[in-house]
């Protein structure tokens, strides 16, 4: 049986000595003797305590409420409660005490829900924040320091002595905060500050990495296991630098007035708690790591799911469009047929011809949009379009289409010229009465180092000469990607040729604008099918 001397009396511990050294300490039982007139200063129980009073009388304050201590009285004090005792009698108060260190589930210390809102990079900060809400309940003094000793967070309460003497809450000047954290070692460290307070340092380790230390305890022991003067104990605390100059005896008495002389069980309970907190922080890091990885995976999965959903939507819309087109086409062309017959009946030959031209255009545009066609077909389409435009401007519009025979065989994106010509009508002619269009296409032989020849297509319109701002604006519009008119042309050219094409917008010889496109010459299939692929796949 071991006796621990205290300020206020002593404790006879009722189990073999080595029971306290294991890390998995659980129950401590002892007989507590409190000398007459002595006071147990207010302190926090970090362990559950069960007290059975054997002899003597006094008043105890449990969580601030006075309790009468007399023989036979039984008290249960939960972990975290404050306790104070005065022996007002003339004989010692003797009570049985059984205490069990707080079992805090380190996992419970982690506020996992809150962890999701944590954005800090530094793992330790993140872990501290996650664990902090639980600290407040436990009501102990601690400091968490980083791996190089810097103070990261302090608890909100410290022993009154520390607050008064070192201003520990407001500054970091206290020697305990300067105490080296073992120089990067990853083992526990217990020391006594110059003023006689025992402080534990527990490292926070994660994946072989030292994240920091949690430093706590701030207890006073005159003769405990962790007190500064026990030479044989394995947990021999170091004495802080500069301590030699301090008169420990003098301070010991000062401290004794200001700090509860802590029984070993309490001290041990505290150390256990600190270890558990360190473990909780480590667990958080592990948890956070997995959480991050999971989040990343979820993100990329949901991204690809989103993309897939978008594609499916597009596909469905396209399918609907195509189906709708098919249904309506029948109706459309039969109606046009009837209209053509009516035109002939009433002698309207030009009306008849216009209906035929319109049908040609419509038939052409019914193709699936990203197919490729021989340039020849594209030009036929343009011709039909322009003939219809001539209905609107019978005297004013003249156009010529000159295409080299060979050029007609080149594969080009479907419907890439009409928007350019249309642009001439909406902007190029600028309301001028006379409208002239010149469309040319030719094939150039391959040059040095080129495998294929080139296709040159130019569209020239009359009108006011195009200015630099205007041609710049047109170019911007083409590259805007807003899927309208000219930008569709650009997108189609890109999809078909990648970067191997070239467009130029210049003022014409004396007037208007000349739009030139140069692209690789790829021979087209004889019969373009209804769902073509990009050019250059062949």
């Amino acid at each position: 049986m071991r006796v621990q001397k205290m300020d206020w009396g002593y404790i006879e511990w009722m189990e073999p000595e080595n029971a306290m050294e294991g890390n998995e300490a659980s129950l401590h039982v002892g007989k507590v003797y409190i000398d007459p007139g002595k006071t147990m200063l207010p302190h926090v129980h970090y362990e559950e305590q069960f007290v059975y009073v054997l002899e003597g009388r006094g008043t105890g304050y449990i969580n601030g409420k006075p309790q009468k201590f007399e023989p036979g009285a039984i008290f249960y004090m939960p972990a975290g409660c404050t306790h104070e005792f005065v022996n007002q009698g003339e004989s010692p108060v003797i009570h049985l005490m059984a205490s069990s260190p707080v079992s805090i589930d380190p996992d419970n210390l982690i506020d996992k829900a809150g962890a999701d809102s944590v954005e800090t990079q530094h793992r330790l900060y993140a872990a501290i924040e996650a664990v902090r809400p639980q600290f407040l309940k436990v009501n102990m003094s601690f400091v968490i320091r980083g791996a190089s000793g810097q103070v990261m967070i302090k608890s909100s309460s410290f022993p009154t002595f520390c607050e008064k003497t070192c201003g520990i809450l407001k500054t970091n000047a206290c020697p305990c905060l300067k105490q080296a954290t073992g120089g990067g070692e990853t083992s526990e460290n217990t020391f006594v500050c110059p003023y006689g307070w025992t402080i534990f340092q527990v490292p926070i380790l994660w994946e072989e990495q030292l994240l920091g230390y949690i430093q706590g305890g701030y207890i006073r022991q005159s003769h405990g296991r962790f007190a500064g003067d026990r030479g044989e104990s394995p947990a021999q605390p170091q004495v802080v630098e500069g301590a030699a100059s301090i008169n420990r005896e003098a301070y010991a008495s000062v401290a004794s007035e200001n700090g509860f002389d802590t029984p070993d069980s309490s001290a041990f309970g505290l150390l256990q708690l600190l270890r558990k907190v360190a473990r909780a922080l480590r667990n958080f890091c592990e948890y956070d790591q997995s959480r991050r990885e999971l989040l990343e995976k979820e993100k990329s999965l949901s991204h690809s799911l989103d993309t897939q959903r978008l594609l499916e939507d597009h596909l469905r819309t396209t399918e609907h469009t195509v189906t709708n087109l098919k249904i309506n086409n029948h109706f459309l062309f039969n109606t046009l047929n009837s209209m053509a017959a009516m035109a002939l009946e009433s002698g309207g030959m030009s009306l008849y011809q216009s209906i035929i031209d319109l049908s040609k255009m419509l038939r052409y545009s019914v193709r699936i949009q990203n197919s490729q066609v021989p340039l020849r077909m594209e030009m036929d389409y343009l011709k039909a379009y322009l003939k219809l435009q001539r209905l609107r401007y019978p005297e004013d519009l003249t156009f010529t289409i000159q295409m080299e025979e060979e050029a007609g065989d080149g594969a080009v994106p479907f419907n890439f010229l009409q928007p350019i010509v249309e642009n001439a009508f909406t902007h190029g002619f600028s309301g001028q009465k006379e409208k002239r269009l010149e469309i040319r296409a030719l094939k150039k032989e391959p040059q040095e180092g080129e495998a294929r020849g080139r296709l040159w297509v130019s569209i020239r319109n009359s009108g006011p000469p195009v200015t630099r701002e205007q041609s710049h604006a047109i170019r911007m519009q083409m590259q805007s990607g807003n899927s309208h008119g000219l930008s569709m042309v650009y997108e189609k050219l890109r999809a078909a040729y990648g970067d191997a094409f070239w467009t130029e917008i210049l003022p014409g010889d004396k007037e208007g604008m000349c739009f030139t496109i140069r692209m690789p010459f790829v021979p087209a299939d004889e019969e373009p099918d209804e769902c073509g692929t990009g050019i250059g796949d062949r």
């Binding site: 098919k326 086409n329 029948h330 109706f331 459309l332 062309f333 039969n334 046009l336 047929n337 009837s338 209209m339 053509a340 017959a341 009516m342 002939l344 009946e345 209906i355 035929i356 049908s359 040609k360 038939r363 019914v366 099918d529 209804e530």
Partner: protein, 231 residues
């Protein structure tokens, strides 16, 4: 005149084709008009036309079914018409041996081309000349002369010669010889018969004449032609 029937449930097609027949002097004669598949089959069997315009989408039997029904019993050339030509339609038409496909609304140029292909020879805008051409194409393999043509067209030989020259830019006889030699070439090329057989087939009684005209229109002797086509 080529006997023709038009099968379409909508009158527009018939009106358009009739309009062009009259206006452009196409050598067709509209003998009947069907508005559904069953009637089409009946008319074809009854009238035995040389040319049939057939809409794909008709009530009763559709165009393809009509073709299958009359297979074997009719030699008519078929031109099908459709509002919306899909690849499937085209493929099926091809397999059924259809002569041509016309998209609606009927375009005159396309109509002309289809008829020319169906008829087999280039017709003109003159009825008499067309009559002559029809006869020539039907009988050039036999011995035939101007007097036959005059008989058929109720005209004089002189008149016919002049008319033909005007529209065809060649004399009747030249045209006939050309036709014959053309066919001879294709016969020789396909190895269907030897030189003598070929000459006989295309309507030359004497080999000498055959050689003469062959040389004139191809620049080679039949033997040389044969050799060359073997390469």
């Amino acid at each position: 005149m080529i006997k023709t029937i038009i099968c379409d449930d909508e009158p527009a097609t018939r009106n358009i084709i009739s309009h062009f027949l009259e206006g452009e002097n196409l050598p067709l004669e509209i003998a009947g008009y069907a508005q559904d598949g069953r009637e089409a089959v009946r008319l074809i069997r009854e009238l035995d036309p040389r040319l049939v315009f057939l809409d794909i989408n008709m009530p009763g039997l559709n165009g393809f079914q009509v073709i299958e029904e009359i297979a074997g019993t009719s030699e008519a050339k078929i031109i099908i018409m459709t509002a919306f030509a899909s690849f499937q339609n085209a493929q099926q038409a091809l397999r059924l041996g259809v002569c041509d496909i016309l998209p609606k609304p009927i375009d005159f140029e396309q109509l002309r081309t289809a008829i020319t292909r169906a008829v087999g020879w280039n017709f003109t805008s003159n009825e008499t000349v067309n009559l002559m051409l029809e006869y020539i194409h039907a009988h050039y393999r036999e011995g035939m002369g101007l007097e036959d043509l005059a008989r058929v067209t109720y005209s004089t030989e002189n008149h016919l010669s002049r008319l033909f020259k005007k529209y065809m830019d060649t004399t009747i006889l030249s045209y006939v010889h050309e036709l014959r030699i053309e066919e001879a070439c294709s016969l020789l090329k396909s190895r269907k018969c030897d030189i003598q057989e070929a000459a006989y087939q295309v309507g030359y009684g004497s080999l000498n004449n055959f050689y003469k005209y062959f040389k004139r229109y191809t620049g080679q002797t039949p033997a040389q032609f044969l050799d060359q086509s073997a390469l």
